[in-house]
Every structure is written in structure tokens, then in C-alpha cells.
């Protein structure tokens, strides 16, 4: 343990105050308890918890292992946002005088204090069949080599350490606890996109479940929270794109997405009024008549005739044909933009605030090739 966290030469100590939600699942007792500790100025949230447990209150429960952002054990909430405790430096927060509230992650049952029951999380990961299905029983005589270009497709998804931070604030999962969620679906994409896997179509059919790909509400909390740059929402979009590429389009979510493509190709603008029957089917659309009539009273159901057509819409039609010829279908269309997205971490312009204690530099993935 770390009872002797000696300041490094030249460093100083700081006073750190925290409030921690203590919880006992057996008795149901819940209390927001304040702790104040003196610690070296370089400590992380996890170091502070260690000091509290070692010197102040041995009953505090939390998970940890590697202390270096690899094992994914110490996910918890600070001021409502899921973080890895071992990645969160305390200096700026303590100096600002702010007393953060530490709580367990959301969307998972709490066992004690900051420890959540990860079983529902693992069940969803297992549901993805997270192993390679190479399509043969006997291994080939020689090793098969996969090009860097092909591995780039799943580079980000492969960075996942399964900490659960993305799941913690998933808005769809709050509403539908059975939603597979960002971590499991990103894991699914890690195999669907793997050039060595031969089960991609059956995987996609499975992930098109009622609680699968199209249950994602695009709130982007997962991308915001992920401490490793996996961008699970982008992985879910890749699964959607791969499904449509493979002709798996029976889900209302896929039909909804396809209608936007049709609209852009034909009139340029969304053909709003036709979106409901094209997504839900005629029968359901008729069932919704009463609702639609109420909307129509307020001009919310614009007449499809005459259609609202963009000028020079032929350009968007021609672009569609051109793009299809060039064949960057499916996940590749998203992967091609990741090289540029990877650069964001190093700029001021894109939301990195030098004085924001919650923002930490992220290791940039190697540039994508091809």
C-alpha cells in the first residue's frame, strides 16, 4: 500500500478535500461523507482514495489494480462524470478550492461505496461473442499476415479497457437497461471489422437486435467519457454502416437512416412527412394518424407536394453515384476520417482547455495508413 507517498524531490504537498458517497447495500445506508487529506501535489484521485483508506477510514471500498490506465478497474464518477480515478490529477481541482463529489458509476447496481456490480456489463460483452471466428477448424500451415491498413479499421475499438466509463452515463441505457450499450457494441465492431473474422454477417444480424445498434440515441456521452479514445458512438455508427452495406436493413433504425440518403439524392432536403411511413411502415403510420393530425394543425406535417427541392440538386445525385463507384462503403467511410480526428487532442481550438483539470492529454493513435 502507499502509506509512504513521499513527495518527489522539489515537489510540495497540498490539502485535498473530497466528498464520497458511502453506501452499504446490505443495510441500505447512504451518506455523503467529507474527507480532508494532505498529499503530494502530483497525486491522482486513486492516490487520494488510497490515503483515505490507509490513514483515515479503512472501511472505504473501491476497485483498483494497475494504477496506470490499463486495467480499467477504477472507473467512478467525479461530479457526475465517469472517470478513471488513476487518470485524474487532483492538483488543479484542489487549488481551485472545489470539493468534488465522488460516487459510483451509473447504469450498474452499487454493491458498496464506489464498487459497482459489473456482471450486467460482462453479460453484454459476452453477448457479442468477443472472440475471433476465423471460419476454419484447423489452423493453416503458415501464419496469415494482416496489413496495417486492414487493422486500422478497428484500431480505436481495440484500445478498449472495458472500464465501463462509457456505460455510466449512457442515456439510452438509463431508459432501456437491456440496451447492449457502447462498450459491448464497440467490442462487437472490434470483431466485425477484423479482417480475420468470418462471422461478420451473423454478428451484424445479431447486433441488429431490438436492444442493439439502432437503440443508440446518439447522446455522445460515451465518446465524451471514454478515457482511451475508443469513441464508442463512432463504433456503433460503423456497425450501422456495415449492416446497411451487407443489406441488413430490416430494423426501423436502418430504414430511418436510409430515408435520409434517399431524400438527399432526390430532393436534397429531408422528405419529412414521408419519414414516418418509410421508417415504421404504412400500418403503423395509420395508427399514428391522430397524433399526426394534431401535429398537422400546427404546420408540423409539411405537404410533400410540391416537394422542397434544393437548387442544383442534380449535383447531390451525381455525387452519390460517384461515391458509390469509389467504393468506400460501410465502416471505411468513417475510418477514413479518423486520421484527422486523432489530431484534435493536440489543439487548443477543439475544446482542450489548458486550465481544465478534467482534460488530460491522450496518447494519440498512430496515423492511419491508406
Amino acid at each position: 500500500m502507499h502509506t509512504d507517498l513521499a513527495p518527489a524531490p522539489g515537489s510540495t504537498t497540498i490539502e485535498i478535500a473530497l466528498k464520497i458517497w458511502r453506501y452499504d447495500a446490505v443495510t441500505g445506508d447512504k451518506e455523503l461523507k467529507r474527507y480532508e487529506v494532505e498529499a503530494p501535489d502530483w497525486v491522482t484521485l486513486l492516490d487520494v482514495l488510497d490515503i483515505i483508506k490507509d490513514k483515515h477510514d479503512g472501511t472505504l471500498a473501491y476497485r483498483k489494480s494497475c494504477r496506470m490506465m490499463i486495467c480499467g478497474s477504477c472507473g467512478m464518477r467525479m461530479d457526475g462524470a465517469a472517470v478513471l480515478a488513476c487518470k485524474t490529477r487532483m492538483y488543479d481541482i484542489a487549488k481551485s478550492g472545489h470539493v468534488p463529489v465522488i460516487a459510483p458509476m451509473g447504469n450498474l447496481p452499487v454493491r458498496k461505496d464506489l464498487v459497482v456490480d459489473m456482471e450486467p456489463f460482462w453479460n453484454k460483452i459476452r453477448r457479442m461473442k468477443p472472440w475471433l471466428d476465423p471460419g476454419y477448424e484447423e489452423p493453416p500451415e503458415k501464419e496469415w499476415r494482416v496489413s496495417q491498413e486492414k487493422m486500422n479499421v478497428i484500431h480505436k475499438e481495440a484500445l478498449c479497457i472495458m472500464c465501463g466509463c462509457c456505460v455510466s452515463e449512457c442515456n439510452s441505457m438509463e431508459s432501456d437497461p437491456e440496451f447492449f450499450g457502447p462498450a459491448a457494441l464497440a467490442k462487437g465492431m472490434r470483431f466485425v471489422g477484423d479482417a480475420r473474422d468470418q462471422a461478420n454477417v451473423s454478428r451484424l444480424e445479431d447486433y441488429n437486435d431490438e436492444h442493439g445498434i439502432w437503440d443508440c440515441t446518439r447522446c455522445y456521452f460515451c465518446n465524451e467519457r471514454c478515457p482511451k479514445g475508443v469513441d464508442p458512438r463512432d463504433a456503433i455508427a460503423k456497425l450501422g454502416a456495415e449492416s446497411i452495406k451487407e443489406g441488413i436493413e430490416h430494423d426501423m433504425g436502418a430504414k430511418h437512416a436510409n430515408w435520409f440518403v434517399t431524400s438527399a439524392r432526390t430532393t436534397g432536403w429531408l422528405r419529412e412527412t414521408e419519414l414516418v411511413p418509410k421508417t415504421q411502415g404504412i400500418v403503423e403510420a395509420i395508427r399514428q394518424t391522430k397524433f399526426a393530425l394534431n401535429l398537422a394543425k400546427h404546420g408540423k406535417v409539411p405537404s410533400p407536394v410540391p416537394p422542397h427541392v434544393a437548387e442544383r440538386v442534380n449535383e447531390s445525385r451525381l455525387l452519390y453515384s460517384l461515391v458509390k463507384e469509389q467504393g468506400r462503403d460501410g465502416a471505411l467511410g468513417i475510418v477514413q476520417g479518423e486520421h484527422a480526428l486523432g489530431r484534435i487532442e493536440f489543439t487548443e481550438q477543439a475544446g482542450l482547455k489548458a486550465n481544465d483539470p478534467e482534460v488530460q492529454p491522450v496518447v494519440e493513435p498512430p496515423p492511419a495508413e491508406g
Partner: protein
């Protein structure tokens, strides 16, 4: 006057015309000269990004190219989803020369001007929350909101992912509150103000979506809000039009008026019904207007 290309997007062109008319009327009061783009199309709303991502990139490049060709270095948006889609594509095009070259060549092949990467995409909210826009807003909002309690609802895609949006802290945003206060209203605080309204899946997964939609409406109601204001027409549509479905499923009639950002500021700046078009709302705005009359 700051000359900006105006991208109204699908909803403000059709079912949310009140957003377009109030934005057009408000713009000169906050120092914006809007250049309308007739040739542009839908940004894909995240759906084309998911269905045909390469086509999504090209459609957005085409929008940016026409803004650039109109001599504007800024594209003004009034929708969260348009903002994220355009900013994401723009970032990719600006920071990957190879990608921009290929897309730009394709644009030229079908008769669109090439895109050289010199346009910034910004939401109206950001224009009036700070700087000159904010100063002009304070001057324009002479009629005020008489202390009305307004619940800010940000929606998702103007906050997250912050690396692509980056205007403010996505967990502790301040821009809407600042605008509400500048207009003489009182900003209500509640946890769901940064969460999802459920709109992207309201047709494909209505039950999941309604479970999200109820949170801001219920919390704003409990906090005593007279109305909710949002910078996104998709949030507006679900909060306003789908509120009746919450009544069906929960028996609760929230009767919570929902205002577009441009309408909230517009009311404070003395715009008329012809521009504000409150009659186009499903949930009546009358209680708010009555409080302002007194």
C-alpha cells in the same frame, strides 16, 4: 455587421419555419448579416453518416464549398445536429489534405466549387453568448423577460463530443444561462439540461426515447419553470410535439411551453408574432405570453 452564410437545415425550412423567421428577424439586432444558400442540401442528420458515411462527407463538403464560394468564412447553424455533422466533416477535410483533395476533386467533377477548408461552422448560440453578439443582445433585449423562470435545455450535439464542439465545458455549460439572464429571465438549474431528448430514435425506438424525453420536462416542471428554451429544432420537436405522448403514457399533463433560442431572445427584443410564430407550437405558449403582458 458580420456577414455569415446561413445554413437553416431541414427543419427550419419546413416543420420548424418559426425558427427560420425568428432567426432572420433577430439576426440584424445581434450584428449578423445572413447570406442565404439556395443550393445546399441536408447535412445527413447523423443518419447519412451512419448509412453512407462517404456520401455524408461529400454532402457536407458541398455545403461548406458553397459557403466558401459565397465569400463567407463562417457558416451559421441553428441546429445542434447540423452543427456537429458539419463541424465533424469540416475538421476531417481541414486536417487531412489527402482526404480533402479527393473529396474536392469529386465536387468539381459534378460541377460544385472545390472546398479549400476556409470556413468555420458556428451555432447562433455561440454568436450571442459572448463577444460583440452578446453586447448587442443585451442592448436589444429591452423588453425583457420580467423574471420569467426559464429552463435551459442544451441537447447533446452542441456539447458532445466536446473535442469537435469545444465552445464550453460539456458538463457545466453556461451559455444559455447567460443569455436567459441577459434577457431579464431567471435561469432554472436541473440535472437533465445536458442530457438527450430522445429525438434520434423517437421513430425507431419510441419507448426508449420517451424515457429520455420525460426527464428534462419533468425536472423543469418540478423546478417551477415557465418554459424550456433549446438551441436545437430537433429537441424542440420532441419536447413540444411528443409531450402529448408523455401524457398518454404517464397520465401527466406537463403543459410545458418550449421555445427556440431565437424566439426567447426575440420576445425580449420585441419581435412580433408574425416573426415568432408561436401558433406553430403544439404546446401553447400563451401562459408565457400572458405573464409578459402583465
Amino acid at each position: 455587421m458580420k456577414r455569415v452564410a446561413y445554413y437553416k437545415g431541414c427543419l427550419a425550412s419546413l416543420s420548424a419555419k418559426e425558427l427560420d423567421s425568428s432567426t432572420q428577424a433577430l439576426a440584424p439586432k445581434v450584428g449578423l448579416e445572413l447570406v442565404e444558400l439556395e443550393t445546399v442540401t441536408c447535412c445527413g442528420a447523423g443518419d447519412i453518416h451512419e448509412a453512407e458515411p462517404d456520401y455524408y462527407l461529400h454532402l457536407n463538403a458541398r455545403i461548406l464549398a458553397y459557403a466558401e464560394a459565397a465569400g463567407c468564412d463562417e457558416l451559421l447553424t441553428v441546429c445542434n445536429v447540423c452543427t456537429l455533422n458539419l463541424r465533424q466533416a469540416n475538421w476531417q477535410l481541414k486536417n487531412d489534405d489527402g482526404l480533402r483533395e479527393r473529396v474536392s476533386n469529386n465536387l468539381e467533377r459534378v460541377g460544385v466549387p472545390p472546398y479549400s477548408g476556409n470556413v468555420e461552422v458556428r451555432h447562433l448560440l455561440w454568436e450571442i453568448a459572448e463577444g460583440e453578439g452578446y453586447e448587442l443582445l443585451k442592448q436589444s433585449a429591452h423588453k425583457g423577460l420580467k423574471g420569467l423562470k426559464i429552463a435551459p435545455f442544451y441537447g447533446c450535439q452542441i456539447l458532445r463530443p466536446s473535442k469537435l464542439l469545444g465552445f464550453e465545458d460539456p458538463d457545466r455549460p453556461w451559455s444559455l444561462e447567460r443569455i436567459i439572464e441577459a434577457c431579464g429571465g431567471t435561469a432554472i438549474d436541473y440535472p437533465a439540461k445536458i442530457k438527450c431528448c430522445g429525438f434520434p430514435i423517437i421513430q425507431a425506438r419510441e419507448e426508449t426515447a420517451l424515457g429520455e424525453l420525460i426527464q428534462p420536462i419533468e425536472q423543469a416542471k418540478e423546478a417551477g419553470a415557465d418554459a424550456i428554451v433549446t438551441p436545437c429544432p430537433l429537441c424542440h420537436l420532441s419536447l413540444d410535439a411528443w409531450q402529448s405522448k408523455l401524457k398518454e403514457s404517464t397520465g401527466k399533463d406537463f403543459a410545458m411551453p418550449i421555445l427556440h433560442l431565437s424566439q426567447l431572445v426575440g420576445v425580449a427584443a420585441g419581435l412580433e408574432e408574425a416573426e415568432l410564430k408561436f401558433k406553430r407550437h403544439v404546446v401553447p405558449v400563451t401562459p408565457v405570453l400572458e405573464k409578459l403582458e402583465v
